[in-house]
């Protein structure tokens, strides 16, 4: 730490005799820093070269200041309003101009400072002593004594009450943030993960025996006639009433469902117990699966109508719809839950899709209580 002793440096009287530069070099040396080379770049003051360098630095600072002013002016005067294509889309310059002026302001401030050092300040080369090895015994003993006395001053070895109450408080302070992080995993989610709004509801839908109508993203009931072979539609439970947590059939996170009409010649190899869950039930042509990927809950909706594969864009899981959405590639391990669907005749004589029941398994990614 301190190989040097103050008495090794120059005395106060000696220092008073020195010029400021000599004193600075002496003080650096006393701190273990040796100035090897030091030269004024412009020993003769006021040369043209010096003035040129000075103007260069000043120019950089001036550009920085002007850019700052330009930023403020454009921030106040400029407008960000979107216009249709075909009109003057002048908004496209707003953000770049703000960013550009800000960048010029900061960069030229930096450039000016670096040029100042490089062009005008004296050039200097210094070497600093390296301090190798452990501290000496004196330093070790002094530090140890300081620590021991400091601990004794608190009186903790004698005052057990304070020690224990402090440990209690410290434990509480440490546990509270931990609970916020881990607590969500301790609290059981209840049954809300096990059912969706497709669940039969005789109170809301007495006419259809409680079956929930299937609607598209604009609340229109979906009819088999709407879809050509090879068509898909993102559908939702037609429940307009708000749920306890403020969502309805379209906005509930568990709702999105992919309704698929197979191409001629495509047939589904159903999973055990899921035969006939499409429509017509004897040889399903329309089938519906939850859109929520069983891996991480992204919407798996990139449907390849010829291969029957359904892709999830997040982690490239692929599901084979023709095998009841069995995972065939990527990190997903469970099939997408299938929604049992049927049709009923509407008031206008057309057929419309209804959910026979809720999904028979929990949708989305797995969780501990999942059966």
């Amino acid at each position: 730490m301190s190989d040097h002793r103050p008495e090794e440096g120059p005395t106060a009287d000696e220092l008073r005799q020195m010029t400021s530069e000599e004193a600075m070099i002496a003080s650096a040396k006393a701190a273990g820093v040796h100035v090897i080379h030091r030269r004024d770049r412009f020993p003769i003051r006021g040369t043209r070269a010096e003035k040129r360098a000075e103007r260069g630095v000043a120019l950089a600072f001036a550009v920085s200041g002007l850019a700052g002013v330009a930023f403020i002016v454009y921030f106040i005067v400029g407008h960000w309003r979107w216009h249709l294509p075909g009109t003057s889309q002048d908004f496209q310059y707003y953000t770049p101009i703000l960013g550009g002026t800000l960048a010029i302001m900061l960069i030229f401030l930096g450039i000016g400072m670096v040029l100042w050092v490089k062009w005008l300040m004296p050039e200097e080369e210094v070497v600093q002593d390296r301090h190798d090895g452990p501290s000496n015994d004196e330093d070790n003993l002094m530090t140890e004594a300081t620590l021991v006395v400091g601990f004794e001053d608190t009186g903790l070895p004698r005052r057990g009450l304070i020690l224990r109450s402090l440990m209690f408080a410290g434990g509480a302070v440490a546990t509270v943030p931990l609970i916020a992080l881990v607590g969500g995993m301790l609290k059981k989610p209840g049954s809300q993960l096990l059912h969706t709004l497709y669940r039969r509801n005789s109170k809301l839908f007495p006419n259809s025996d409680g079956m929930v109508p299937i609607v598209d993203g604009l609340w229109r009931p979906v009819s088999p006639d709407d879809m050509e072979p090879g068509a898909i539609a993102t559908v939702f439970p037609g429940v307009r009433q708000k749920t306890a947590w403020g969502t309805d059939g379209l906005t509930d996170a568990a709702s999105p469902t992919l309704l698929i009409r197979l191409r001629p010649g495509q047939t589904v190899k159903p999973r055990a117990g899921q035969a006939g869950w499409g429509w017509p039930s004897e040889s399903p042509e329309y089938i519906a699966f939850s859109k929520i990927c069983t891996h991480a809950g992204c919407p798996a909706s990139l449907y390849e109508q010829q291969t029957g594969r359904l892709l999830c864009p997040c982690h490239q899981s692929q599901f084979q719809v023709l095998e009841d959405a069995k995972p065939v590639f990527g990190p997903a391990t469970r099939s997408l839950p299938k929604l049992p669907i049927t049709v009923r005749e509407g008031d206008d004589g057309r057929l419309y899709f209804y959910a026979v029941s809720d999904f028979h398994e929990a949708i989305g990614p797995g969780f501990w209580e999942r059966r």
């Binding site: 496209q92 770049p96 993203g217 709407d226 879809m227 068509a231 909706s301 990139l302």
Partner: protein, 295 residues
């Protein structure tokens, strides 16, 4: 549903001679070692085939009478156009799709029932004629001009039926853009992306970018469902809704980027790479400059 029935009738009609031929040819060969009793059954079967053929022929002609020619009435294309399309077909398409448009196994699919819309999309985007068998046919420069494409579409549709090439303005008015945006996000964005730049599918297939797609190419793609794309019929998305979607996509494409250079809106990952390589590179150069000795 109704369209579907029509197609089925058309298809049965097209295949009708083949049905009776197999019935007549296959039955006697199986007949030989069997007892004579069965001859009555064969006769009955032949009779049934004849009746069925007659019924199919009459249904087909009835259909032809009522449905009229599918393309000629609304596209304004005449018989000479169909004839011209036929000649183009026989030069450029027949090798893979066959003389009767019913496809050749391992080379090209049947074009019966695909309609003019599919032909227009495939040919005008240069995907057809294809250069080879791959995961998917990429967009390339079209081989035929607009008129030739229409003629080809008219010919294929005149033989096999299916959705026609829509005519007139296919871009909705400005006040339909918002609705088009909703519909785009509901139906299209999952594959083509919110910025319309496309996305990869399985095994080398892609949902292409919409950068170069014209109004009519978008609508014909929705109508015909080319390659892996699902079909969006006029019942599912009405013609007005399709026009709204087109208006939205074209507005999106023509709209300038408020944040400056959008790097073709290829997404946050690629933008971050540009920021890292460009930004950190600039910082490194600055560090080298600050530390450089002044001579």
């Amino acid at each position: 549903m109704k369209d579907d029935d029509d197609i089925d009738v058309e298809r049965e009609f097209g295949f009708e001679p083949a049905v009776s031929a197999t019935g007549a040819a296959a039955a006697p060969s199986r007949e030989k070692p069997r007892p004579r009793k069965r001859r009555g059954r064969l006769r009955r079967r032949l009779g049934a085939t004849a009746v069925l053929s007659l019924a199919l022929v009459s249904m087909g002609s009835l259909y032809a009478a009522f449905a009229a020619s599918p393309s000629a009435n609304d596209t304004g294309l005449s018989k000479t156009d169909i004839q011209a399309g036929r000649q183009l077909y026989q030069v450029s398409c027949i090798t893979c799709h066959g003389a009767n448009l019913d496809g050749i196994v391992g080379q090209g699919p049947s074009l019966i029932g695909v309609g003019g819309a599919a032909v227009y999309f495939q040919v005008s985007t240069g995907r057809m004629p294809a250069t080879g068998q791959g995961a998917e046919n990429p967009r390339k420069e079209a081989k035929f001009d607009e008129q030739q494409t229409e003629q080809l579409a008219a010919y294929v549709e005149s033989v096999g039926g299916g959705p026609s090439v829509p005519q007139g303005s296919l871009r909705g008015p400005d006040d339909a853009i918002a609705e088009g945006g909703v519909l785009y996000r509901l139906n299209c964005a999952s594959c083509h992306g919110v910025t319309g730049k496309g996305a990869p599918l399985s095994a080398g297939k892609v949902a292409p970018s919409l950068n170069d797609a014209t109004d009519r190419q978008m609508v014909t793609a929705m109508l015909s469902g080319p390659e892996q794309m699902p079909v969006f019929s006029n019942n599912q998305l009405t013609p007005d809704q399709k026009r709204a979607i087109v208006a939205y996509i074209q507005t999106l494409k023509a709209s300038k980027d408020p944040g400056g250079a959008g790097i073709d809106r290829i997404g946050p990952v690629s933008e971050a790479i540009v920021a890292w390589v460009g930004g950190v590179g600039a910082i490194m150069i600055a560090i080298l400059w600050i530390g450089a000795r002044n001579r």
